[in-house]
Each structure stands twice: as structure tokens, then as C-alpha cells.
């Protein structure tokens, strides 16, 4: 049984309330940090813990914090990125929904470490229940003296505000999030300057994912070194994985880093294997933007080593035979699933969510979507596969923000590992035109949807 740091008390009735959360040891980290540690001590503990950003990029959190500029007379901000909208990723909303005070406690500890007196929790607008839950938790915490002026008599002041987002995937990109938070259109900014120098309202800002912020609580409670003992290599601690697809037990799991992927998929403690006794065909290991891997590469690396749930092991082999941990959106596909249909579906998403600022992403995602639909519907030619490959290659790396890469990688990996399926669609147009996965109404927007 793996250790649980974030979801340990998830099944305790009423854990979403301050009283029960306190009974289970909640807000100890705030007391410890504010009363016995300096902000620099907290940063140091987070550095020692080896915690890497849980939003997808995996950048070391402590190092990110230490980059924060500290000019005199200028406020600093902590912004929590709760704009969780990567297809296949739903861990943050699960955490906010069930243990909101874990986030609030983490916000207080992190804000203290960064010297921020005003912090924001940016939550995707559609997640209205979570927004209300977090707002309620803030009110509870404030009424109990954990927020506001002179917290615990230490002289530290902190206000936390919840900001609903406009409902755009791109607002999960940190600079687009800041633009949106400032009330502007959520377009990514061109870096540099990085938010650590000029972020929210031009002031030094740290943007962290919900899970990263919540993870600071056990780090402060037990110490960074204890946290670093969990996991292996440079992947320390625990990680929330949102598992979905054709699994027996989809859901949100907290795993210790280093868990073998095979165990995660097939053991009863976690996903329980592939549903309906089918065989595993492919896995997207870290949310829709990371490369898809066929079954033979997801459990073992190209060298025959067991593939582990760590940043390093999942990335082993680069994008040729590896993938990425990403945000932990683990999607399994059984043998009946169509990779071309799935890739088209992802690309449709990225086309819809591209902000439109830069040309390759704006035009390229639309082009890819049309080509994928053409192939999927049995109207493609073999040359279309090469064209598709060329388009994704020309988007990747040439855009302002990583959305272009996120759109290109799934297409590249699908062609790389499942080219025969693309060819099947083209060589068997009659059969592919007759297939219907319940998505037929998307194919032709003018076609009436039958009830």
C-alpha cells in the first residue's frame, strides 16, 4: 500500500470542513511555518524536498520560488493555477472538491515563503462547485484566524481571492492566466520577462499548480528530506494521477513516484486492469498533450527496463519511444479503440483552444484537424499522412507558448506508433466510413442530432 500524503483522509466524513480537517492535523504546517520558520527556511525545505511542479512541466518548485525577484516596495504575488482543463486530467478538481483546506493551508504556507500578502486562486469558470467550495473554505479559514491580518499573532497578513476563469484551456498557461487574471483576453505573454520578474500587474509572481501548492503542507510538516525519501531519482514524493479510459477502476489515485506503470494499470490497488477483459492497446500517460505510447512501450522502455511512474522513466527514449509525466492524466485505450479517431478528437480540442496569436498554431491546428477528419472518415490519401507529419513538425517549437507543441506531439506520436492504422483508414474507406463511435454528429455540424 503506497503512502498517501494528500489524499490520506479523503474518505473521512466532513473532511471538507475546517473542524474535521483540523481534527486530522490540518493547519499544523501553517503554525509551524509562521511560528518557527523564516520564509527562507520554508523555501529551503521545498528545495530539499525535490518537489517538481505538478501542473505538467515538472520544473523544480523550490528553484522556481528562489527565482522570485524581491525588489523593495513592490508587492509579490502567489497565484494558484486551478485552470485544470487538459483532457484526461481531473486531479486538481478532485482535491479541491474533497479537501479544500489542503489547498488553503498550502496557499498560506507558500505565500508566507514567498512574502506574498495577496494571493489568488484561479479556477476554471466551469468548475463552479469547486469555486464555491474553495470560497467557503476561505471564509471558514478567515473566520478562524488562519487568514487576514496578523495571522496567529505573527504579524503576517494574507488575503486569498478566488478568481473564476473564462473557460479557456490556454488560461492554464501561466502568462495567459496572468493576463486573464488582470481582466484581459487570455493570450500568453512572450517571455522574457518571466513572471518571477514581471508577473501579475507587473510585479514578481509565482504561479503554481493546485497539487504543487497542496504538497507544500506535508513538506513543511515532515521536512523536505522526509518528502524526498519518497520516490526515486529526481522524481520525489507522491503524485496524483487521474486515470481514465478503458480501465476497470478509473479515478484519482495518489501514487508514490517510482510505481511501475504495469502495477498501476493492472493491480487491484489502482486501476484493476483493462475493462471487459480486453487487451491494452495504448496509453496516454500524462494528459492529452503528451505522446501516446503503444502497450509494448508503456510497461517497458525500449531497453527492456520496467517503465516507472517517474518523470525520468516515462520520458526514457525521448519522444521516439518515451512519453512524459505531464499533469498525470493517465488514459488507457483498449484494443477496440481507434487511434486516428482519438487523435482527431484531441486535435479538434487544440484547434478550438488555440488562442490565435501566432500563425503556426492558429492555422496549423485547424489544418491538422481537417486532415485527420479527412483520413478518419475514409477520404484520405497516403500522402495526407506525410503531410500531417510535416505540419506537426512545422508547428512544434515555433509558437509563443507550449500549446503548439501540445497540439503537435499527439499527432506525431500517433503517426509514429500507429501509422498502420492511418493507412488502414485510407486503404479501407468503406469500412471506416461506416464506423460510428457515437461522435457522428461532430463530423457534420449541419446534420441534425437525433434524440
Amino acid at each position: 500500500m503506497g503512502r498517501k500524503l494528500l489524499l490520506e483522509h479523503i474518505h473521512v466524513p466532513g473532511i471538507n470542513t475546517l473542524a474535521v480537517y483540523r481534527e486530522k492535523g490540518g493547519y499544523r504546517a501553517v503554525e509551524k511555518a509562521l511560528k518557527t520558520m523564516s520564509p527562507e527556511d520554508v523555501v529551503e525545505e521545498v528545495k530539499k524536498s525535490g518537489l517538481r511542479g505538478r501542473g505538467g512541466a515538472g520544473f523544480p518548485t523550490g528553484m522556481k520560488w528562489s527565482f522570485l525577484a524581491k525588489p523593495e516596495g513592490v508587492p509579490r504575488y502567489l497565484v494558484c493555477n486551478g485552470d485544470e482543463s487538459e483532457p484526461g486530467t481531473f486531479k486538481d478538481r478532485y482535491l479541491m472538491n474533497n479537501i479544500p483546506h489542503a489547498l488553503i493551508e498550502g496557499m498560506i504556507v507558500s505565500s508566507y515563503a514567498l512574502g506574498a500578502n495577496t494571493s489568488y486562486i484561479y479556477i476554471r469558470g466551469e468548475m463552479m462547485p469547486q469555486i464555491r467550495i474553495i470560497e467557503n473554505a476561505i471564509q471558514e479559514a478567515k473566520a478562524a484566524g488562519w487568514l487576514g491580518k496578523n495571522i496567529l499573532g505573527t504579524g503576517y497578513d494574507l488575503e486569498i481571492y478566488v478568481q473564476p476563469g473564462g473557460g479557456a484551456y490556454i488560461c492554464g498557461e501561466e502568462t495567459a492566466l496572468l493576463e486573464s487574471l488582470e481582466g484581459k483576453r487570455g493570450n500568453p505573454r512572450i517571455k522574457p520577462p518571466f513572471p518571477a520578474v514581471a508577473g501579475l500587474y507587473g510585479c514578481p509572481t509565482v504561479v503554481n499548480n493546485v497539487e504543487s501548492i497542496a504538497a507544500t503542507v506535508p513538506i513543511v510538516n515532515d521536512g523536505g528530506e522526509e518528502y524526498a525519501k519518497i520516490g526515486i531519482e529526481r522524481s520525489t514524493g507522491t503524485k496524483l494521477i487521474s486515470a481514465s479510459g478503458n480501465l476497470v477502476k478509473p479515478g484519482v489515485y495518489e501514487i508514490e513516484m517510482g510505481l511501475p506503470v504495469e502495477e498501476f494499470i493492472f493491480s487491484d490497488e489502482y486501476c484493476g486492469g483493462i475493462a471487459n477483459g480486453k487487451r491494452l492497446k495504448a496509453v496516454v500517460a500524462g494528459g492529452s498533450s503528451v505522446p501516446i505510447l503503444p502497450a509494448n512501450l508503456i510497461t517497458k522502455t525500449i531497453n527492456g527496463n520496467p517503465r516507472l511512474m517517474t518523470y525520468e522513466s516515462l520520458a526514457d527514449g525521448g519522444f521516439v519511444s518515451g512519453t512524459a509525466m505531464g499533469s498525470g492524466g493517465f488514459i488507457a485505450f483498449d484494443e477496440d479503440q481507434c487511434i486516428v479517431r482519438n487523435t482527431w478528437n484531441y486535435t479538434r480540442f487544440y484547434r478550438h483552444e488555440s488562442c490565435g496569436q501566432c500563425s503556426p498554431c492558429r492555422e496549423g491546428t485547424g489544418w491538422m484537424e481537417k486532415l485527420l477528419y479527412k483520413i478518419e472518415s475514409g477520404n484520405g490519401s497516403l500522402a495526407d499522412i506525410d503531410l500531417l507529419w510535416d505540419i506537426q513538425r512545422r508547428i512544434e517549437g515555433n509558437t509563443i507558448c507550449p500549446l503548439g507543441d501540445a497540439a503537435a506531439w499527439p499527432v506525431a506520436a500517433a503517426i509514429r506508433h500507429f501509422r498502420d492504422e492511418f493507412e488502414w483508414h485510407i486503404l479501407n474507406p468503406g469500412e471506416s466510413q461506416q464506423r460510428n463511435y457515437g461522435l457522428a454528429h461532430y463530423a457534420d455540424p449541419l446534420e441534425p442530432v437525433t434524440q
Binding site: C355, S359, P360, G366, N398, I400
Partner: protein, 338 residues
């Protein structure tokens, strides 16, 4: 005594130059000039925050600086990346850059119609130049292009979104020059479009400058539309005593008629000074202006096909005795400037 600013040594395609700290790679390249200057569709030095969007100016930084000589992992937008001391940049000497630029041109042309024969921007269009320099002969795009209805933004400006490449220049111009936020981008991705709120008219004194900054033919001057091809016109620099703007413009002559007035542009197609609507749209007679000299047009430009370098009074004036008389004083003054 003022402290001397430490200059940064930069090399672009092997050509070294020293520039002030804070200079972007693009502007450093512009100081060298020639073929190594990356193209720019969205960058406009007069507009704060512009650049970085079209990706035509991507370059390769093969050496970051003297202190950190590592190359940058990706191509960078030269218009938004500032130089470091010892930086080495590759533009046309890098196959990656040339390939990326070709890709960007292809993407830009997906939804941009090749209607140059009927477009008022033909001959002045940066996308046209870019297409000739970096584009492929054939398109690989086979799907239906996005199309929009033309929109009149007031009685003098027409927006033709089919041609728009979403460079945001006009949005920045409207925001920064007029101070009125009534013009921007709606929707996302390839559905995005430039628009006013519920088809408002744009009626600020300086709003005509959105036409000058548009690198393609999306925003056009309704007082000039379909009047002539630009290479049949004769540009002449002129000025007037304008209470609103500097009054320094370029008059575009067709015969004896001034058929268009624009701001004066430099070799990178950026206006020197923004001009007001009155100068642009309402002063279309030679006697409204004090003529200076023929506009200096690059030999590379199609406009140069009808232009002359030695100073002479514009032919239109020689042919018109009345105008010639009226301009004797101005011509004499211009002669002194030779």
C-alpha cells in the same frame, strides 16, 4: 560626466556589430541592414507590445552570450529577444530558420487569398514580399478557406477579414493612439477576427493609421480603393501646417491628382510619424500641401518602376502651369535640399 554605456557585441550571420543593451536581435540586424534583416509582419517599433506573434522573424541563437555560450534550444522571435554580449545569431545562414520561415509563410497563406490583382495593398504588401522570398510555388492546403463579409469601420476605412493575418498591429494602434478601446479581437484560434463591438464605426482623429500599419490588405482606405495600382502612382513627400499632427506625409499622385495620402514610411514600412484623419482623408489637393521632394523608394520596390532618383519637380507639376507657378517657392526650397 555621463557614464559611457557598455555596448554589446553581437554577430548576425557572421557580421559583427556593437549595439546598446536592450536592443532586440531584429533591431540589431536592422542596424546592419541588407538580407540578414529578418522579416517582420507583426512587429512595429512604434507600437508598444507588438511583435512575437507572426513568427516570421524567428532566428537561431547559436551562442547565447559570452557568459553562457549555450545555444538557445528553440528558434526565437528576433523582434522580442534582446541581445546579450557575445551573442551569435543565425538568420539566413541557418537551414532551420529558412525552413521555419517557409512553414510560417505557408501557414499565413492558408487563409489569405491570393487576390493581389484586385487588392489595394498589392505592391506594398509585406506578405507578398515574404511569399516571393520564402513561399512555395504550390499550396498543399486543399480545404475551404475562411471567408468573411467586408465591414465598413466608419465611412473611410474598410475591413476585409479574409486577408487579415491577425498581426494585432491595428489593435495596438487603436489602443495606443486613440486611447479608446473599441477595436479588438473576437473569438479564438482560426475563428478569431478583428472587430469593433457590434460593428461600431471607428471615428477617432488618428484612427486612419490602422490602414498604414496593416501589413496586408485587410484594412484599406476607402478614399483610395480601386483608384489605381500603387506602381502607377508617384509618391511625393509633403507637409502642411496641421493643428492635430505633424502634417508630414507622402502624397501619392496619379497624373495631377493626389489619390492617396499616407504617413511617411521607412525602409521597413513603418511610418515615421502617425498622421491625423484630416491630413489623410480630406487634403487631396496639391495646394493643401507644401511639396518637398519625391519619396525615396527602394530600387527593390515595385513602386520604383515609375520613380526617378535625380531630383526633378514631379512631372504632374511640370505639365500643369498653374500648379507649377504655385509651387515655384517650394521647388526652389527643395532644390536647396539636394
Amino acid at each position: 560626466m555621463a557614464e559611457e554605456i557598455q555596448k554589446f557585441k553581437v554577430s548576425i550571420d557572421g557580421i559583427a556589430i556593437e549595439v546598446d543593451p536592450g536592443t532586440t536581435i531584429l533591431n540589431a540586424a536592422r542596424q546592419i541592414g541588407g538580407d540578414i534583416v529578418p522579416p517582420a509582419m507583426c512587429y512595429y517599433s512604434k507600437l508598444e507590445g507588438s511583435g512575437g506573434k507572426c513568427r516570421t522573424c524567428l532566428v537561431k541563437v547559436s551562442k547565447g552570450s559570452e557568459k553562457d555560450p549555450r545555444p538557445m534550444p528553440k528558434l526565437v522571435a528576433s523582434c522580442r529577444t534582446t541581445v546579450m554580449d557575445g551573442m551569435e545569431v543565425q538568420n539566413i545562414t541557418s537551414p532551420d530558420v529558412v525552413d521555419a520561415r517557409k512553414a510560417v509563410v505557408e501557414m499565413l497563406l492558408i487563409n489569405h487569398p491570393l487576390d493581389c490583382p484586385v487588392c489595394d495593398q498589392a505592391g506594398e504588401c509585406k506578405l507578398q514580399d515574404l511569399g516571393y522570398e520564402h513561399g512555395a510555388v504550390n499550396t498543399r492546403y486543399e480545404f475551404e478557406r475562411r471567408t468573411f463579409d467586408r465591414v465598413d469601420l466608419g465611412d473611410k476605412i474598410q475591413l476585409h477579414m479574409n486577408r487579415c493575418i491577425l498581426c494585432y498591429r491595428c489593435v495596438f494602434t487603436a489602443n495606443q493612439l486613440t486611447g479608446k478601446r473599441e477595436h479588438g479581437i473576437l473569438y479564438r484560434g482560426d475563428h478569431a477576427e478583428i472587430s469593433t463591438y457590434i460593428e461600431n464605426a471607428l471615428d477617432h482623429d488618428f484612427i486612419g493609421n490602422v490602414i498604414d500599419v496593416c501589413p496586408v490588405g485587410a484594412l484599406t482606405d476607402k478614399t483610395f480603393r480601386f483608384k489605381n495600382r500603387v506602381w502607377f502612382t508617384k509618391p511625393v513627400d509633403a507637409h502642411r501646417d496641421c493643428p492635430t499632427c505633424s502634417g508630414k506625409v507622402t502624397l501619392w499622385y496619379k497624373g495631377t491628382d493626389v489619390i492617396r495620402v499616407t504617413g511617411r514610411k521607412d525602409e521597413y514600412d513603418e511610418v515615421d510619424e502617425f498622421i491625423c484623419n484630416t491630413c489623410r482623408f480630406e487634403k487631396k489637393h496639391t495646394d493643401d500641401w507644401v511639396l518637398e521632394h519625391p519619396t525615396n523608394v527602394s530600387d527593390q520596390s515595385v513602386i520604383a518602376s515609375n520613380h526617378y532618383h535625380a531630383f526633378n519637380p514631379p512631372a504632374v507639376i511640370q505639365e500643369n502651369p498653374q500648379l507649377k507657378e504655385a509651387n515655384v517657392e517650394q521647388l526652389a526650397r527643395s532644390e536647396k535640399l539636394k
